[in-house]
């Protein structure tokens, strides 16, 4: 979906304002929000793709006014509700009144470092041939896609060149919706600035995206 998260090339947001000596967390709750998000993810109900989709599905006015960890926490509430681990009543009252579902998968303190170290690789066996090769000229799908996708609006319909082959990775467009990992070849595709922004491009600029095979067609 071309939601509020799809910010590339949008105008009007003003200057980038870096913060000097920025702390990792600006308040204690930010660290707790990160932690509770990771711990809840470990329950195994949803994928990273589904959690991204929950964030980008927040109302645009919320997405653009919330701090980043607020976006995370709101999306986490959505995910916990969707997968039956909490109810609206419980969120309102703070009092548990339904049984947990995946308590057996609770992430224990002493397992955290190992879980973080392992991460969650999304590469999968390369059982098909890649349709494109380095140097292939391709065009990004121009389609409106109502569900989750990793095609930014600014690259839709644009022509680029394959500059890297990353292997076969889990496909977010299906995985985010519980429709399976459906692994696909992943490419680096480079788009010249003038292809993306026409006469409004800065000189000598290009953008490379990581692009799943179903996103592109041969030029």
């Amino acid at each position: 979906m071309n939601g509020p998260h799809d910010l590339g090339g949008r105008d009007g947001f003003g200057p980038v304002i870096p913060e000097t000596d920025e702390p990792v967390f600006h308040a204690d709750w930010e660290g707790r929000a990160l932690g509770v998000t990771l711990c809840s993810g470990a329950l195994g109900h949803w994928s990273l793709d589904e959690s991204r989709h929950a964030r980008e599905s927040l109302a645009p006015a919320t997405y653009l006014t919330a701090s980043y960890y607020e976006i995370w926490l709101r999306a986490l509430e959505t995910l916990l509700l969707r997968h039956g681990e909490v109810t609206e009543t419980e969120l309102q009252s703070g009092e548990p009144d339904t049984a947990p579902r995946h308590a057996h998968r609770q992430l224990k303190a002493d397992a955290v470092l190992d879980v973080l170290r392992k991460g969650g690789p999304v590469d999968r066996p390369e059982v098909t041939e890649a349709a494109f090769a380095i140097g292939s000229r391709v065009r990004m799908r121009p389609d409106r896609i109502p569900g989750h996708t990793r095609i930014p609006g600014y690259a839709k319909g644009k022509a680029g060149t394959v500059t890297g082959i990353r292997g076969v990775h889990v496909f977010p467009d299906t995985n985010a919706h519980g429709q399976g990992e459906n692994p696909q070849w992943l490419y680096a595709v480079r788009f010249d600035g003038t292809e993306l922004w026409g006469a409004g491009a800065e000189p000598g600029t290009a953008v490379t995206l990581d692009v799943f095979e179903p996103y592109i067609t041969a030029l």
């Binding site: 799809d6 590339g8 607020e70 308590a103 170290r117 600029t205």
Partner: protein, 204 residues
């Protein structure tokens, strides 16, 4: 998103909301609060840009390591102990006098956690995410990085699970320096591509 997050937690309704959710999940047996403590400690105190700076310093000084990075960045960086969540599929980008690389995630906030720690607020902010792809030179200028028009700007939009580490150019006048001294010149922003490595004379 706010560029200036509210630092006053007492007045922040998110503080209460986060506590309420954590408490609920703990009481339901779904979350171990000690696990949250470990996560917070990890990203607050243990994982950060100092990891990436070590990778960069070694890449500057050890040609075999640099070659290994080119062949398999994920494994090579993992062998230094920097592996796992949000660094499962690493690529390194080499800056040269001809090409400057710069990383963004326009769609969310993808960032190589295990190598650089958690991303700064500006990296997750709408101004950076919107403009890094459409006017990277203007954005670089706001960071004080003014590159000649002959230098090609290559922007990498992290739209999948590949995570990028920029290897900035090694500053002049650092011949013979130790890896540790070199690493001190490598800022977080230089590894995102919005800064250059610091010159020796600027190194306090």
């Amino acid at each position: 998103m706010h560029d200036h997050p509210d630092h006053d937690t007492d007045l922040d309704p998110m503080d209460a909301r986060t506590r309420a959710l954590e408490t609920l999940l703990v009481r339901k047996g779904l979350v171990d609060p000690g696990a949250i403590d470990v996560i917070v400690d990890t990203y607050q105190n243990r994982v950060g840009p100092q990891n990436g700076a070590q990778v960069v310093a070694r890449a500057w000084t050890d040609p075999d390591f640099a070659d290994a990075l080119r062949r398999d960045a994920t494994q090579t960086i993992a062998d230094m102990g920097f592996a796992g969540r949000q660094a499962e599929h690493m690529q390194v980008l080499w800056n040269t006098p001809q090409v400057h690389n710069m990383v963004v995630c326009t769609l969310c906030s993808c960032y190589p956690w295990a190598v650089l720690g958690l991303p700064p607020v500006w990296y997750k902010s709408a101004p950076y995410r919107s403009r890094a792809v459409s006017e990277p030179r203007a954005v670089l200028a706001e960071f004080g990085v003014n590159l000649p028009v002959e230098t090609q700007i290559e922007v990498w939009d992290s739209t999948a699970e590949v995570r990028y580490l920029v290897i900035p150019m090694r500053p002049e006048g650092t011949e013979g320096w130790s890896e540790a001294d070199l690493a001190a010149l490598v800022t977080r922003d230089a590894m995102i591509g919005t800064d250059l490595a610091r010159a020796p004379e600027a190194d306090a």
